[in-house]
């Protein structure tokens, strides 16, 4: 039950886009059609689902104060937390590279459909945000961290496909010329934020 709660919280209440404004750049840039938004959203779920557990292991076995105890008694007082930002970024980009190579090798069809989006994910702040939130919230097991990661990913996915569908719908709207393109997208995002506020404050 706890795992489900963490997942639901990640999707709706602590939505990456509407609660924390993370991953806005690709959210705004790649949301012109539902098909591409769908591809990018799935890739984000996938990468979040891999990098957050890996970072969780790293955090708890290497970076945390006293985490290096398994090396010997001399390392009990070592605190490598200063390195966590760099380490997380390194893990994210390495994982994205690895995932890219694996997908290219074993599933060329998926690789070609994701195209440029896979390498783009390395610089998506939602991914790094996921790792940092995992560190801040101190999930007790790796399964909880994974559940949080998948929830955040699904939330991001939902946000980007929803705005892509809206942008497809308003393609023929008579939007005032200065607002066309990004301007109206920002306004839509704000209005969607109001709609997503229905979940703020829910306690599960």
């Amino acid at each position: 039950m706890d795992l489900v709660n963490i997942f639901i919280k990640g999707v709706f209440i602590d939505n990456m886009i509407f609660a924390y404004f993370l991953g806005m750049c690709s959210y705004l840039a790649v949301s012109k059609t539902v098909t591409t938004a769908n591809g990018l959203g799935l890739a984000v779920i996938f990468v979040l689902g891999i990098t957050v557990p890996v970072n969780y292991i790293l955090e708890n076995q290497v970076l945390k104060a006293g985490a290096l105890q398994w090396l010997g008694e001399d390392f009990v007082n070592v605190d490598l937390n200063v390195l966590s930002l760099i380490m997380f970024i390194a893990v994210v980009s390495a994982m994205v590279q690895l995932v890219e190579m694996i997908i290219e090798k074993f599933s060329p069809a998926l690789y070609s459909s994701l195209g440029i989006f896979l390498p783009l994910i390395a610089v998506n702040c939602a991914i790094l945000g996921g790792a940092l939130f995992m560190q801040e919230r101190q999930y007790s097991t790796i399964i909880e961290a994974t559940s949080f990661a998948l929830g955040s990913g699904v939330g991001w996915y939902l946000a980007i496909v929803a705005i892509a569908a809206i942008r497809e719908k308003i393609r023929y709207s008579n939007v005032p010329a200065p607002l066309r393109g990004l301007g109206i997208t920002y306004i839509i995002t704000g209005l969607m934020g109001i709609a997503f506020m229905c979940f703020m404050g829910i306690k599960i």
Binding site: V34, V161, A162, I166, I170, N174, C198, M200
Partner: protein
């Protein structure tokens, strides 16, 4: 009428091409087409000949809203008078049904006037500036906004929310028919999040409640929200919950008739049902959305009844009673069926309505911050509606492709 037409015709040259006031032509055009059937004829293409245009559609919705409006006016007076004189026998001899109505009429009328004047001024300004016709869409929005407000809402707040809804909710997308969120709900959400003290609590729903101590106007939902997470054996809690039994003020009968505190238009189930009948009969409102939203809410409330946590009396309220209180039915009939912001496909409408109902009850029960979940639930589904449509259309394409393959 003849005189009006003559006046309009005599000043018409000023507004036409080359006239001094040509920039104001959209404003003139709006008045003319509103008062008279225009003599424009289409110049190209084949068109369906039908007397129901956008204006007639909107007027039908206004007619459907009138029962709610009149009942809301009466209820405003009734709540005030009955709370002021706690002796039930006494107030019935002092105030007649017309006194209630007149009292409410003078309280509600300013809200409607402000809503229309402000909203239509913004519409006219945009129409003149952007050189398009004034659309009639605001006629309905302007009536819906006051009906979703508590009676004591300050007029400047109302004006501000109307401006927000018309400009950000509608005009930036290009006007009527192009918005993504329901403008009336956008206005309500804006004022709800911007000035929460005037939109929630137990001191806003009956006129004068913030000044006179004798009056408390807690809505049924506000009362219910205090019954989550409590000790069910506590005598005060039992007392509060008994307000919902058959002789309490929030009884099923009272909430069906509508003699409970709440927003102006939302309280009476009867008035809303009359409106729903008009909308469905004329084909203006989608019965698919209404029916599926009703069953969505009903099934969610039943699930809560079955789960029924010990310390959460909100969940154990009978499902049908759950739907009759608050603005669930009002939102279902007048807000969710908005043809612009709802899903467009028939299958999509059913999914959209069902999820609206489920989410409304879910937010109501689980989110202590918003005892009224319908507003935000419908806004959320407005956001999701294009996505639902997209996948419904995709599924249909796939189905057809498969059919072609089989035939080959």
């Amino acid at each position: 009428m003849k005189i009006m037409q003559n006046i309009l015709n005599s000043i018409k040259p000023h507004f036409e091409e080359g006239g001094k006031l040509h920039t104001l032509y959209p404003a003139y055009d709006a008045f003319e087409t509103f008062l008279f059937v225009p003599n424009h004829t289409t110049q190209s293409g084949t068109h369906i000949k039908d007397s129901v245009d956008l204006k007639r559609t909107m007027v039908i919705v206004i007619i459907a809203l009138l029962p709610c409006l009149f009942f809301g006016m009466w209820n405003t007076g009734y709540q005030y008078h009955s709370q002021l004189t706690s002796d039930m026998e006494g107030y019935q001899s002092i105030y007649s049904i017309f006194d209630h109505f007149l009292f409410g009429f003078w309280k509600v009328l300013p809200l409607i006037i402000v809503s229309y004047v402000v909203g239509l001024s913004v519409e006219f300004a945009f129409a003149v500036q952007r050189k398009h016709q004034v659309n009639e869409g605001y006629l309905v929005t302007g009536m819906l906004i006051p009906l979703t407000m508590p009676v004591d809402v300050p007029l400047w707040m109302l004006a501000l929310s109307v401006i927000f809804a018309v400009v950000i909710g509608k005009e930036v997308f290009g006007g009527t028919g192009m918005n993504i969120l329901n403008p009336a709900l956008t206005a309500r959400a804006f004022i709800f999040f911007a000035y929460p003290t005037k939109m929630s609590g137990d001191k806003v729903w009956v006129h004068g409640a913030d000044k006179i101590d004798a009056i408390t106007g807690e809505t049924a939902l506000g009362q219910l929200a205090t019954l989550t997470n409590v000790d069910p054996s506590n005598s005060e809690i039992i007392n509060n919950y008994s307000l919902f039994s058959s002789d309490g003020i929030y009884s099923l009968y009272n909430s069906f008739i509508g003699t409970i505190p709440g927003s102006i238009g939302e309280t009476s189930v009867i008035a809303i049902l009359i409106g729903a009948f008009i909308l469905v009969f004329t084909g203006v409102g989608s019965f698919r959305i209404m029916v599926s939203m009703f069953f969505g809410g009903l099934s969610m409330a039943y699930i809560f009844n079955i789960v029924g946590l010990e310390n959460n009396l909100f969940m154990s309220l009978p499902a049908i009673h759950q739907l009759f209180i608050g603005s669930f039915l009002f939102g279902m009939v007048f807000m969710a069926t908005d043809p612009v912001s709802a899903a467009q496909t028939n299958t999509g409408k059913i999914i959209y309505g069902f999820l609206c109902g489920v989410l409304s009850i879910l937010i109501r029960v689980f989110n202590p911050a918003y005892p009224e979940g319908v507003m935000v639930a419908i806004l959320f589904m407005n956001v999701m509606a294009p996505l639902i449509d997209h996948y419904v259309v995709e599924a249909n394409i796939k189905k057809r492709l498969k059919r072609i393959k089989i035939n080959e």
